[in-house]
């Protein structure tokens, strides 16, 4: 049997049968393969070309509601059989869990176009190297002194999911990306930024010019200066806003709320943000980078409104949390038992980002940076990694050694605008957000 002709669905179903025989009351198995190519850029040159190929089988078994899980790489049947037996044995050791109801049954599978692209799957190493070289040359043309690092990478995978409830699904997917940072050092000054482009389809990406956007970013961040502390308007550019909203949606995972450890506990149906914020998680967007017909447990994906006009409208469920809550899974389960958001699509506002900025008298524009609320308290204490001082609606200069602080609810309630325009990546919308009266800490 060659690498290509292994039937992963047959393999997964055989593992389910073995788990049943070993005493599993419920069981599901994923089996699949992935092939990766990555070309590394360092010091504005090609550093290395890497390739890998792997297969994995992961078994999840339940006895009395207790879960056992085992994962192995490769296709050696003896090793796989041992993993199945181990998963069942571990499930028997786990404490009974009356909150476990059942694994998802077979269900109609939605069609999601554009998840697999033959053009990506057919790219050779030489072609990936050419994309990397094109980035180096494009950056050199606009800024010969820029120091580039990063990678151009692709992944091609296919696999199957089978369960004791009769789920039998096969899928395949591609992804390609270019992630490049640019560094400029000039007269003791440093400008640094990174950019990326990614997608499931080659036609959705402009991979060859990511470096130019990174260099332009590095130029913008030359001349950083310290600022004083005070309360200012905070404008989150598309990347910063996406990161912030991503953390918020992750906090809406039902597991952490049911366990009582999330700052969103008790907030379902309650206003948590200004009414200008509506946020949808949609795993069915055609060609979306987080799209797929079903989640890791076989539940069909569907759009979920997480925040509707400022109210926490919906939680992300897997089969376990849905069973515990007496509701339906929203299709956000991972095979290992977790919950994961898909494509985030905030509703757009009325004014373009430029106008939102123009109205800011004294503020900070955070182009990119991590704002991660504490998962329990919601407190935020974050570095302004890539930010500008705003005065009179203009970007005055980049800032260094500055931070922002507050609580996630303070920021959400002081949100006063979502831009009408947005950066768009396949499946994902990234508008600009404006938040009034945020505590900024400066080094001056």
């Amino acid at each position: 049997m060659t690498e290509e002709d292994l039937n992963y669905l047959d393999l997964a179903q055989a593992c389910v049968t073995r788990a049943d025989d070993a005493g599993a009351e419920w069981c599901d198995v994923v089996a699949g393969t992935a092939r990766d190519i990555s070309v590394a850029i360092e010091k504005s040159g090609i550093k290395s070309a890497d390739a890998g190929r792997g297969e994995e089988v992961a078994i999840r078994a339940y006895v009395g509601g207790g879960m056992g899980y085992a994962a192995v790489t490769g296709r050696d049947r003896k090793t796989i059989d041992e993993a199945v037996d181990r998963a069942v044995a571990l499930a028997k050791e786990a404490t009974d869990d009356p909150d476990f109801r059942r694994l998802p049954p077979p269900q109609p599978r939605p069609e999601v176009e554009g998840i697999f692209d033959d053009a990506v799957a057919g790219l050779s190493v030489e072609q990936v190297v050419r994309i990397a070289v094109a980035n180096i040359e494009a950056a050199r043309a606009v800024e010969p002194e820029a120091i580039l690092s990063g990678s151009v990478a692709l992944s091609v995978g296919r696999g199957a999911l089978a369960s004791s409830t009769g789920v039998a699904l096969e899928s395949r997917a591609t992804e390609i990306s270019a992630r490049i940072s640019a560094l400029l050092r000039r007269d003791g000054d440093t400008g640094y930024f990174y950019e990326f482009d990614f997608g499931r389809n080659l036609a959705d990406c402009r991979l060859e010019t990511v470096s130019v956007a990174a260099v332009e970013g590095a130029r913008r961040f030359l001349g950083a200066r310290r600022i004083g502390s005070g309360r200012r308007t905070l404008v989150l550019g598309p990347l910063a806003a996406y990161g912030f909203l991503g953390r918020l949606v992750a906090a809406a995972g039902a597991e952490s709320i049911q366990r009582g450890r999330s700052f969103l506990c008790g907030k379902e149906g309650e206003p948590i943000a200004d009414a200008c914020l509506t946020l949808v998680d949609d795993g069915l967007v055609p060609r979306g980078v987080r799209s797929g017909a079903h989640d890791g447990e076989g539940t069909a994906r569907r759009p979920l409104t997480v925040i509707h006009q400022g109210c926490l409208a919906g939680l992300l469920h897997n089969s376990y949390t849905a069973g515990k809550a007496g509701t339906e899974s929203t299709g956000h389960g991972t095979h290992a038992g977790g919950i994961r958001p898909t494509n985030l699509r905030p509703a757009l506002g009325d004014c373009p980002a430029d106008e939102l900025l123009a109205e800011v008298e004294d503020g900070i524009y955070l182009e990119s940076g991590e704002i991660r609320p504490d998962p329990a308290s919601g407190d935020i204490s974050a570095s302004i990694d890539f930010g500008f001082l705003l005065k009179g609606g203009e970007r005055v200069h980049p800032v260094e050694s500055a931070m922002l602080g507050g609580n996630v609810f303070d920021l959400l309630q002081r949100l006063d605008a979502v831009s009408s325009d947005a950066r768009e990546e396949p499946g994902i919308l990234m508008p600009t957000l404006r938040i009034r009266d945020v505590q900024i800490a400066g080094a001056e």
Binding site: G68, V72, A441, G442
Partner: protein
């Protein structure tokens, strides 16, 4: 699910791969064959919630052909798949050789033939899963009991994970190195509520070893401490915002030297022109009270190893001595490019990863009895400042020398005295500023920050620590100005 058999077949395989690579035109090649297995147990709110096991094996082949590197891996130890890796790696190198502008080089490799097998006190599988569950439940019960009001704890998680790894490395210079050992980590999280807000307390312990960790770690400094932290944080106030003199607990000192200095001292970043330490060897970059080491030889410490992923012996290496930058961390390649000695700092997460320059156990050395400043004296020198404790996480942009460290707990310092408790808070600064602004270093020392350090998509076990230190002009990311 332990995988059987390790040495002879893996020896033959990696030697064969290197011979084949040489015959097919590689100027240098190395091969790492790896078998791993692991297990994890998670106890949550009185129940053994998730029990998991994993096993994998594979080979990674790295070749240098002319000026270019190629690397290929396969999740198999079959001869046919390994030989395919050789062909793939050579093809990958050739595909990029014409466009390589910074030719790859390697330091002269001294052949090593050695075996480094560190058996845990409790071999894998020797402690039954049920015993591990019992131990974790004991931790949880102790933590809940220690909270001043048991009802305040709304969620408790205690987990244990162990990973066993056997690896055989060969290269075209004649090295054959067999290593085997395991690491174990125990983690706990308690979440407390007063009905209005939630707060967390966490602790983590990790060793080079196995399930003996669960016998060594007592509840008091682990789950009990985490539960008390969570409850205490309910009464803590948000930290102030602005620039302060700050006192670092050893865990924060560890984060500082790991994030702010250590990553900048990794020679691959320096060679790439990205580190702010480029061209600064021999320069005074820190206060004279500051000496920083990276030491992979500390017995049992989470970041320790005998040989790195290229077969270079691990060692104790100074990075800063009395304020002066004296060395970078090197792989064989960066050592060649800098004409320096390899430091045994090339580490690969597994067979499917190229070795990168990484830290091991990084620490700021405690001051001697003649220069050390006691904690109380450090505090006396602060009119209004912040005492940061309970190091959690951090990250750095080496290109800008800008870092952030997050503290799980803090206190105000007022007129030289410890003041009211503060909630978790982050600080940020520039590496070259903060190292020079350290104006007091303690004689004490603690290194208990086991964790997985991320770089270029790989993670490596590391540890970090140091003494208490006092630092001027640090930006605290609080909620309000005073």
């Amino acid at each position: 699910m332990p995988l059987k058999g390790v040495t002879l077949d893996m020896d033959d395989l990696v030697r064969h791969v290197c011979d084949l690579a040489k015959r097919r035109g590689a100027d240098f090649a190395d091969a790492r064959a790896v078998r791993r297995h692991g297990e994890s147990v998670l106890v949550q709110d009185g129940r053994a919630d998730k029990l998991a096991a994993s096993a994998d094996c594979g080979i990674g082949v790295r070749v240098l052909v002319g000026r270019a590197w190629g690397f290929a891996s396969a999740d198999s130890l079959q001869r046919r798949r390994a030989e395919q890796c050789v062909d793939d790696a050579i093809a990958l190198a050739k595909a990029s050789e014409a466009v390589v502008t910074d030719p790859a080089r390697m330091a002269a490799v001294e052949a090593v033939e050695a075996e480094d097998r560190t058996e845990p006190e409790v071999p894998p599988g020797a402690m039954p899963v049920a015993e591990k569950i019992d131990r974790l439940l004991q931790y949880e019960r102790a933590g809940r009991a220690a909270a001043s009001d048991g009802h305040q704890i709304v969620n408790a998680i205690v987990s244990y994970a162990q990973a066993w790894r056997e690896e055989t490395l060969a290269n075209t210079a004649g090295t054959l190195l067999r290593s085997a050992g395991s690491r174990a980590v125990a983690t706990t999280l308690f979440v407390a509520s007063d009905g209005e807000i939630l707060q967390r307390g966490t602790e983590q312990r990790g060793i080079v070893g196995g399930a003996e960790l669960l016998r060594r770690v007592q509840p008091e400094p682990f789950s009990v401490r985490a539960a008390r932290k969570a409850v205490a944080a309910l009464d803590a106030k948000p930290a102030p915002a602005g620039r302060f003199t700050v006192l670092f607990h050893p865990s924060i000192t560890g984060l500082l030297v790991h994030e702010a200095l250590g990553h900048n001292a990794e020679a691959d970043s320096v060679w790439a022109g990205e580190s702010i330490l480029e061209g600064r060897l021999g320069e005074e970059i820190a206060s004279p009270a500051v000496s920083v080491w990276d030491d992979s030889t500390l017995p049992g410490q989470f970041g320790s190893f005998a040989y790195d992923s290229e077969g270079t012996p691990g060692r104790r290496r100074p990075l800063i001595q009395e304020g002066r930058l004296v060395a970078y961390l090197h792989s064989l390649e960066t050592a060649a490019k800098f004409d320096a000695d390899p430091t045994g700092s090339a580490r690969a997460e597994s067979y499917d990863c190229r070795p990168l320059v990484r830290m091991s156990n990084t620490f700021l050395a405690p001051a001697g009895a003649d220069t050390g400043v006691p904690l109380a004296e450090m505090m006396r020198g602060i009119d209004r400042g912040v005492y940061l404790e309970d190091g959690h996480w951090g990250y750095v942009f080496v290109q800008k020398g800008q870092f952030i460290c997050h503290a799980g707990q803090a206190h105000m310092i007022e007129d030289g005295e410890i003041g009211e408790p503060l909630r978790d808070v982050s600080i940020s600064s520039l590496t070259l500023d903060v190292l020079k602004n350290i104006d007091a270093v303690g004689e004490d020392f603690e290194m208990e920050m086991p964790g997985m350090c991320g770089k270029d998509g790989q993670s490596a076990p590391t540890d970090c620590g140091g003494p208490h230190v006092r630092v001027r002009d640090v930006v605290v990311g609080g909620h309000h100005t005073l």
